[in-house]
Symmetry: C2
Subunit: 216 residues, 2 copies
Amino acid sequence: MANTQSRKNEKVIPISVIKRLPIYYRCLVNLLNRDMERISSRELAEKIGVTASQIRQDLSHFGNFGQRGYGYNINDLSNAIANILGINHNFTMVLIGAGNLGTAIANYPNFKQRGFQIKAVFDNDISKIGMKLSDCTIQHINKLEDFLQVNNIDIGILTIPAEETQYFCNIFKEYGIKGIWNFAPVSLNTGNQVMVENVHISESLMTLAYRLKEEC
Amino acid sequence: MANTQSRKNEKVIPISVIKRLPIYYRCLVNLLNRDMERISSRELAEKIGVTASQIRQDLSHFGNFGQRGYGYNINDLSNAIANILGINHNFTMVLIGAGNLGTAIANYPNFKQRGFQIKAVFDNDISKIGMKLSDCTIQHINKLEDFLQVNNIDIGILTIPAEETQYFCNIFKEYGIKGIWNFAPVSLNTGNQVMVENVHISESLMTLAYRLKEEC
DNA sequence: TAGATTGTTAATCGATTAACAATC
DNA sequence: TAGATTGTTAATCGATTAACAATC
């Protein structure tokens, strides 16, 4: 009973909490870049637009990172959150679809430095084969299975049309890929063996449209 | 009191409900394309991965779209949801940033046919000025204010580096733009006069990383 | 009519906020 | 020490699920 409060072991963390951690993290990194050292939950909450209570409650799921009367050391807290999230953990990825969206993702500057490495890029467009994208040479999609056979890949990124996603989803599952980062507007059926994280751009626009409808 | 149940007037609709409507809509359009006519809340729920209760509860915020003993007419319901969301309402948009992400968005096939029209594209890269993107000729960013002065624009799309977003956010506000669709990893400060819808790609990847950490 | 399925109310569950003792 | 701020518990709020009368 003594120090129960410092270990929330076993308890499943709500996904709503997890989704706020990257927001805290981004803000803390910003502050760090401006050479700030400490921040209270109240100040951080104000910057982000949540309540101080929520920040303290969220962090308490993982441990005690603050100091009463002082607040949080920004460097320590950002490192702690990075560890919780698995940033710097080194994930290997393959990208399927070297279109504009795939290119944008492959060139996103922060991913590589945070341990997300794209190991190979595939496309079905013959005219793109052999071209460079980020550090990779674009390969024909029919080389994918050979590649997965001999390389240990954690995450598959899908930036292809909706119709083709389920096919690659199945291949990913077959070769033991653990997570799919899906940009196509479909609900993938993975049988829960593979984690799917969706970025549904068009759903986001529709949500905005709803909120604007009265005014436009 | 008589027919109160058919009008949930005045009551604010939770955003969690709104965010599910595009998912229902996409599924219904798929079914429609496969020439299906009717569906029950139970069947729809199964396809999407929610409870039938939730679908009925969600829809009840907006009216009675089903028929007891029958279910929902797919065509009617998808049209109803489109109306609720404001799809086909015709929104005018400007795109700031003609990089890979901006290009991907401008070329997204479904937006135009659903009433989201990009009226102009701006970039600060001289080498891109004059090139075509979708239906637009890319203009230099210093033409933006003149353009907004004489054109009625509903939505500003930001696909530019984080540092520059607040500047354009302010310009948008000044010229009466109602909504910002922001792809940069920042929290924009709009003073709540302008609706902001964020697509935070890197936060999505971090959330996936967390869920994979134990397994990888 | 009998069976099916809605729309809605009530019950449950979970997430957020408030409050405060602990303590730096 | 006195002031500040955490970590945590309890209270509130909101969202989801279950249940069922209404009715097609």
